[in-house]
Symmetry: C2
Subunit: 409 residues, 2 copies
Amino acid sequence: MRTQFLYEKNLTGVANSVKRKQEQYLKIVRHLYYNGAASIAEIVKAVKISQPLVASLVDDLMGYGMLLDNGIGESIGGRRPNLFCINPEYQYVIGVDINLHSLNLAVFDLSNKQIHREEIKYFDLENSEEYLTALLEKIERMISRLGIAREKYLSVGISIPGLVDARHGLSHTHLSVAENGLAQYLSEKLGMSVQLDNDARIMALGEKAFGKAIDKENVLCLNLSNGIGLGMILNGELHSGKNGFAGEFGHILIDPKGELCHCGKIGCLETLTSGKILVRNVKKAIENGQPTILAQYHEEGKKIDLRAVVEAIQAGDQFAIDQLNQMCEYLGKGLVTLIHLLNPEMVIIGGKLAHTGKIVLDPVAMSMNKYAMSRISSETELVCSDLLDNSALMGTMANVMKCVLSLDE
Amino acid sequence: MRTQFLYEKNLTGVANSVKRKQEQYLKIVRHLYYNGAASIAEIVKAVKISQPLVASLVDDLMGYGMLLDNGIGESIGGRRPNLFCINPEYQYVIGVDINLHSLNLAVFDLSNKQIHREEIKYFDLENSEEYLTALLEKIERMISRLGIAREKYLSVGISIPGLVDARHGLSHTHLSVAENGLAQYLSEKLGMSVQLDNDARIMALGEKAFGKAIDKENVLCLNLSNGIGLGMILNGELHSGKNGFAGEFGHILIDPKGELCHCGKIGCLETLTSGKILVRNVKKAIENGQPTILAQYHEEGKKIDLRAVVEAIQAGDQFAIDQLNQMCEYLGKGLVTLIHLLNPEMVIIGGKLAHTGKIVLDPVAMSMNKYAMSRISSETELVCSDLLDNSALMGTMANVMKCVLSLDE
DNA sequence: ATACTTTTATAATATTTTTTAAAAGATTAT
DNA sequence: ATAATCTTTTAAAAAATATTATAAAAGTAT
């Protein structure tokens, strides 16, 4: 079973005809992956290869076990079509969502189903050999517990906060201790290919593939948690910039007379809008005797973190909502800059704060109305993600499949 | 002579084999246009078609008069290659650069040479039938004066300031009186296809094809004249946004406590940085008795416009340079936002102010050093355009050829 | 002068598509 | 309801197309 041959990118020293055939297979698999089960006739239209050839290629792929007969479909006025789909169990993808204080792992089949998911809380990200070893151990344990043969794993997708150079597989902010770069390191240790990117961009890929950005060409995805990340889909493609540093939305200037940011500049958006600031403000207020549900939480010994604040907001806590509203005014200001520059068709809010839905959306929308040129902003839809906590893991899957099924190079 | 067959986009009702052949021709022509004369062997490598087939396709194109034998090239250790190139005189492109107060026209041959260029000064842009008629008349007169057969013109490229929806050929800010949109209107009147876009984006295309952005993937092009326009090359492609409104750099927020902008918002970059503001400030200062070369100009009865200010700056006028420096501090601030968001590899300054070269570059660079995260900004080169006043016309040529030679759809 | 390269041309082979036909179901008029 | 006519899908044969392999031509390097 030539499991991997389909995806190998630089088939060197191989006959040209083999490359061509690989490309044809890829086109078909690509179409079936992104559009679901299809008949020969449908594939023909989509991939622009003649019907007899598509039929024979599909036949081959069935032979390899990669495609399955998916029964016969509805007729639209003629013979009923035989449908084909990707064999979901032909291969699997591992998703790794690295957060500052937790780790999410998942295994996907080729129908994008999470056949396994686990969350490791209190797994603090630190730049040490120990962390890397522990991370590998968690992944290895998952693999052995699932009992799926190692060769069945197509690739590993990783989401991590901070500056990431996806092209070279480097994580600059975190885990820079990994030899030869994080992707290379993990790839060698796990014996699988690894696709790495920054959390906000991974989220954007998730939204583009499985969320509200499907079929949209210009979408901004905001990851509102402790920090404030931005992933951009521009002209239908993920934008990473020259070094993968694009999306530093948290450090655009909002208030020239504002606070000092940890980045050294003054008045960055992140000094005014972020989960961290929200929590800080709440804590300060509790100390000052502000009446709020969060004060109760505090008395009950509950930790006052972003999760708690979101909970309070969802419970209707007036003070917390007020704080959020204030933050959103600034966020809206920042978004207006983005919208004026990029003219996106949609802005998706994700991250922990997206759980509050309309409560976060409305004040942002208000602020945008105030600060944006309506001619431009009226073309932009503002919504909350519906992938929410799953967006990073779904994004890793999307990223892996995008890389694996890409035709270019 | 089937002049146009090569470019026709949606060949409907035509045999599939014809479409395929058209695509093959297009690939070859594309390569020769963008890379200059090449041998069969080179073309084979570039377009990934076999050598005997490429040879026969090139033969066909020579038969149509589209390609020329370009003699034999240097050997690199074997038989010397026959070179082929596009026949520069096979077709021509008309470039139209519409400015607020002037109009530039040019005719290009397929080697991108301006075989004709004319500048019409004091041709004020206004939204009237009269303007359109006058514009058409200028173009028609140029065509008849040149005496090149009408069928020889491949297309017309237009650059115009303001909001432009290139996809639909609409100019929103100017000339909105044109029936069915500006592109459609001109196309019907001239009997040629028309490619339309906003001046800053056209400039960006010019820089990408002929200027400093060649071979770069992420470049921001700033058009610094009376206004402040932005054209972006992202992932190697021009970014226009959903409606072609992307690039409203002049209306991003810089100073929340600043002046009212004509767009209704407060503290837009354009209220702090633009040729218009520069001229305004200079005039005010002259009234107040500020010693400056410009005061002399004024006494001599010379009009104090941006051109005069640029002249003074080039002459070393201390006051004017001071004014420019102040402006550039704000411009740098704005650019930092762009760089943080998009992580470009290069920022190109064009427009009238680019004529001042280092004098405008240095203060902008200084400001960027101050306000940007060096990790990101250090990856970005800041330069002045060397196309300068030609960038719009060159851009129209680039835009036309990009559209004509595009493979997609 | 000989061996080695690169480029181009030709012939043989392989691939892909077009054409044609058959199978299977939907639609419609009687 | 049923036969006749259309559709759509699939299969197989024939034709067209493109590629690979081979050879020849025209150079360079030693």
